[in-house]
Structure formats: C-alpha cells, structure tokens
C-alpha cells in the first residue's frame, strides 16, 4: 500500500514538473525539435535539470541494499543494443516529431478535455497494444 501511495506522489510531482517545464505544450516541443528553423532550446534544460537530480540520486540508490519500501530494485533486463531498440526509437521519434507529444505529457494534458491529447492517448494505447499483440517475440 505504501508503494502505491509513493507511486501516486511520484506521478503527481512528475506531472507538475512536465507542466511547469513546458513539456505539455506541443508547440514548445516542436520548436525544440525544429533545429533548422526558429529553434527554442529551452526544453533542453528540462532534461538537463532532471538528469542532474536523477543521476545524483541514482548514485545514492546504487549504494543501498534495497529500496526503502520494496524488497529489491527492479532492473531492466536487456543490456545489448539490438534492432528493436533502434527501430522502436526511430518510430517513436517520427511520431514525436509529427505532433510534439510523448506519452507522459499527453496523459498529463488529458484533464484539459481537449481533443488533441485525448486522441493522442487513445492511439498511443492502441499502438502499444498492437505491439504487445503482434510485434513482441513470442516466448
């Protein structure tokens, strides 16, 4: 139960961070990606700020035997650079560059009750489902 509450708090802070930083504005994301046009580099600082904090606290986590609330750290199980990683990143980058939404900001923007985030999140879920159903290697 404590872990569920912690997850909620993390999501809450995450959502405020995205909104404050400008990630929930697709026009800002597009201006950041449009390097050859009227480039707006400010969103780079969102990533910079997040990385400095996360990388520092990751060093703390690395020295802990286990997390405060869970029995162990869940680690990503893949370590090699493989085809799905690169092809997946290409598809994601193409979709991100088309509209300017990535998953978290689109979900955070849902309460605006506007069409754009609602349509995006619906097709996002469909895309994930399609991969889980047809794209993932069968064990």
């Amino acid at each position: 139960m404590k872990q569920v509450v912690l997850s909620f708090v993390s999501g809450l802070i995450f959502g405020f961070g995205l909104s404050l930083g400008g990630m929930t504005k697709p026009e800002r994301v597009i201006s950041f990606l449009d390097v050859t046009g009227n480039w707006d580099p400010s969103l780079m600082f969102v990533m910079f700020g997040a990385l400095v904090i996360y990388a520092s606290l990751y060093q703390v986590a690395k020295r802990m035997k286990k997390p405060f609330l869970a029995p162990n750290f869940t680690r990503p199980n893949r370590t090699v650079v493989d085809r799905p990683l690169v092809v997946g990143a290409v598809l994601f980058g193409a979709g991100w560059g088309l509209v300017g939404y990535c998953p978290a900001p689109a979900i955070t923007s849902l309460p605006s009750l506007k069409l754009a985030p609602a349509l995006f999140v619906t097709s996002l879920l469909l895309g994930m489902w399609l991969f889980q159903r047809f794209g993932a290697a069968k064990p």
Binding site: F8, P26, A89, G93
Partner: protein
C-alpha cells in the same frame, strides 16, 4: 520567470519524482513502460502503475484549475496526424522499451548505453521529422 528557469525547475521536479520511485519502490519511472504494463494481460503489478498515472492526471487537473494554458495547445493539429503520431509513439516505445522518461532520464541517468543510443536516435529522428514536415507544409 523565464522559460529557461521554468524548464530547469520543471526538470528538477521530474528528476526528483523519478528518483523517489527508484529510492522507495526500486522502480524505473519510464512512463511508456508503466502504461504498457497497465494494458498488458496477465501483468500482476497494476496497482502502483495505476497510482502513478492517476498522479499525472491529478497534477494535470490541478494545472487546469490554476493555469490551464500550460496543458492546452494553440497549435491546430490535424486529427489524422495526431492518430498516426499516437500509433507510432505507442508502437515505437513498446518496441524500443522506453520513451523520453525511461530512456532519456532514468536510462541516461544511470549511464546506460542502450538508453543513450535510443535517446540520440529518437531526438534525431524527431528533429528530422519536424524539419521535413515544415519544409513540406510550411509548418502544421
């Protein structure tokens, strides 16, 4: 405050939120992974995933009350384009095991080569897509 200051502040909050999830729950704050697990049949740990997404939604709701323009877009985006983009982002992040948060922050933050490469690729392709799109339609 300038957009740069706000961007750093927002980034600090995102980094802090992600670190909390790691330090307390031992989990990676990769939003596409969290959501993917929610819709996957047979996934047993849906409660914390749901709670995280609920946190995002409550944050968005508070922003809507306090400063709605932060989560609204002035861009007129073609609904077909949005649907195609959503499908690409959903399929691509599921295939590539991560998005901006999971690879871009948590992955690079722990110096993962996989995540560094994924991030360079999706930012690069994103820049290329935006540039090509503007060249064709003069911006959408």
């Amino acid at each position: 405050m300038s957009p740069f200051t706000l961007a750093i502040l927002g980034g600090v909050l995102i980094g802090l939120a992600s670190a909390l999830l790691l330090l307390f729950n031992g989990r990676i704050a990769g939003v596409s992974g969290i959501v993917g697990g929610l819709i996957r049949a047979g996934q047993s740990d849906k409660a914390w995933r749901f709670a995280f997404v609920l946190g995002l939604l409550i944050a968005g709701s508070a922003v809507r009350i306090l400063k709605p323009e932060l989560i609204e877009t002035d861009r007129v985006i073609n609904p077909v384009l949005i649907s195609v983009a959503g499908l690409l982002v959903g399929y691509g992040t599921a295939m590539g095991s991560g998005c901006t948060s999971g690879h871009g922050i948590c992955g690079i933050g722990r110096f993962s080569v996989r995540s560094l490469i994924a991030t360079i690729v999706f930012i690069g392709v994103g820049m290329l897509t935006t540039t090509v799109l503007r060249a064709i339609w003069g911006g959408l």
